[in-house]
């Protein structure tokens, strides 16, 4: 197990460097003068240009620049924006909101998705099964921004149940509807995944044994069947948490949430390379670590899997 973890961690390094270099190169290789429009209507003073060139190592080649940036990053320094705000602080303000939103989305999709999966798998073919199948297909086809806008138009505009935009605090109550919107796509996948997993395990030997032992039905389903069936679902939820943080940009835009998505979008529009690279690097790390954790969780949850 220890050796497996080590090997996986070593494999993460080239992937991490590749992804972050790709973003770094795209952001900093932008055609045009990096100082265009940075100082209002006039050209930037030479002193400012010199200072910023030195700060971002703009005179070095792209690869040297990148590794100097990575060195700073690893010592915890995210750098500053062109206007001198510490990016680390901006991320520290925005990240908790995005994490909260992603966690709420994962919790909602887990409850509804697994619930629908259990219900349809145990009932078998019928009206309910078809209903869930159709609604999952529908959810998969609905682009997130459409779900968001329709929810906003109806819940906030027509019925006045929620506020159209989330306040700066972004409390859990306010994030419920955005969380539902963000998680709606994965909810459909989870419903189908848990349905497939449960209906496969229902015919497994260990379930038949449990029934033959005379276990009450509740225990057969609740303990024997569910525990084995939930493994692929939990691993999906794990990777999804990482993916949702990067994918929250649209939902955050629709509901005016001040999270990482909004920050990175503004960074791109203002051509503020340091902010964009900083956040994307962070999101890539989260995503890669989540997929590692998920792989390791397989071994913990399923005793049949051994990493040696």
């Amino acid at each position: 197990m220890g050796r497996y973890v080590l090997r996986r961690l070593l494999q993460l390094i080239p992937v991490f460097i590749g992804s972050t270099f790709l973003i770094y190169a795209l952001v900093w290789a932008l055609p045009g003068d990096p100082f265009a429009g940075k100082c209002g209507q006039r050209a930037c003073p030479q002193a400012y240009v010199d200072m910023m060139t030195a700060k971002y190592n703009l005179d070095d080649s792209l690869i040297v620049q990148y590794f100097k940036y990575l060195g700073n990053l690893l010592s915890g320094d995210f750098g500053e924006t062109f206007s001198g705000n510490a990016i680390g602080e901006m991320i520290a303000d925005a990240a908790p909101i995005t994490v909260r939103l992603a966690v709420i989305a994962v919790v909602i999709e887990a409850i509804i998705g697994i619930g629908a999966g259990i219900l349809t798998a145990l009932r078998g073919k019928g009206f309910l099964d078809n209903l869930v199948l159709l609604s999952t297909l529908f959810l998969i086809s609905l682009p997130v921004f459409v779900t968001g806008i329709v929810a906003q138009l109806l819940l906030a505009g027509e019925w006045g149940i929620i506020n159209p935009s989330v306040s700066a605090d972004a409390t859990v109550g306010e994030l419920m509807v955005p969380g539902f919107v963000l998680g709606s796509l994965s909810m459909a996948y989870i419903a189908r995944l848990s349905r497939a997993s449960i209906s496969e395990n229902r015919r497994a030997d260990f379930v038949r044994t449990a029934i033959a032992k005379g276990q009450p039905n509740r225990r057969v389903v609740g303990v024997h069947l569910l525990r084995a069936s939930v493994i692929p679902v939990i691993t999906f939820l794990g990777t999804d948490l990482g993916a949702l943080m990067g994918g929250a940009i649209v939902t955050e835009g629709v509901f005016n949430i001040n999270g990482l998505g909004g920050l990175v979008f503004r960074g791109i529009q203002q051509k503020d390379g340091a902010t964009v690279t900083g956040i994307v690097v962070l999101l890539v790390i989260v995503y890669l670590l989540m997929s590692l954790v998920v792989d390791l969780m397989y071994a913990v949850l399923d005793p049949r899997i051994r990493y040696d």
């Binding site: 973003i23 682009p143 459409v146 806008i149 990777t239 990067g246 994918g247 791109i268």
Partner: protein, 316 residues
Amino acid sequence: MTDPNAATEFSQVGESSPAQNPADGPHKPRSLWGDAWRELRRRPLFILSAVIIVLVVVIALAPDLFSSRDAGFSDLNRANESPSADAWFGYDNQGYDVYARTIHGTRASLLVGVFATLLTVLIGSLIGIVAGYYGRWVDSLLSRFGDIFAGLPFVLGAIVILTTFNAPDSNPSEFRIIAQVVGSIAVLTWPVAMRIMRSATLVAKQLDYVKAARGLGASTARIVFRHLLPNTVAPVLVYATIALGAAIGAEATLAYLGIGIRSPVVSWGVEISDARDYFQNVPHMLLFPAGFVTVTVLAFVMLGDAVRQALDPKAR
């Protein structure tokens, strides 16, 4: 978007489909695809999705059959008017007829979907089959290379790519606008197709007839094209159907963020992008093109789902 998650589902198809033995029956043996076709014809969801797709393709090929006005038709006096018998989907804030623009936008949206999927599947399958066939360090190298692109969040990666190539004052041609969106979708999603192809190749490579072909001295190209490809193409095709829908949805999402396709091209995404500052007061401007996107994506997802089930012997 939808793609990364779908990978796990389809890899199973690849593992199970080559294993079935169609020669068991007493009659003339049917191929995997023959079986699937018999199965499909009886499914209402398949028929429904096929009808929708044919309709959308006809609209894309001959938009004038469906709308007498062309996409540029504009009557500023009637701006923001609600749907009526004259203009079924109403007018937008520029006085454009939303119905006419939606009908004429079908072609660009469908083109983006088709080309993005083609590119994704071609790059992904090529790399996947090479990785799966050669194995060892080639496999590790190519798989890690794919992980680099898979690790980037889709929307974020697409925003960075598209802003990099859309220099502020440039005035790109229609072809370039579409090619950029197609390219960025393909660059960020090919690892999914690669993983599906790779796992299908890993299974097919171990089968006896492949070993026999190699023993008889068949060249690598012959083994790959004559023996491996026909048996690995099913899961990739299923993925491609669903990816086509996902790409159309992605085009709309990028347009909603204001970085996708833009005028002079007319597409569903462009309409959505035009509507994003006005939809609070003029919802029909956004809801009709978004509805077209959703129904088209739904048709492709349903088709892919039906084909996947029909190809999976375990599901019967």
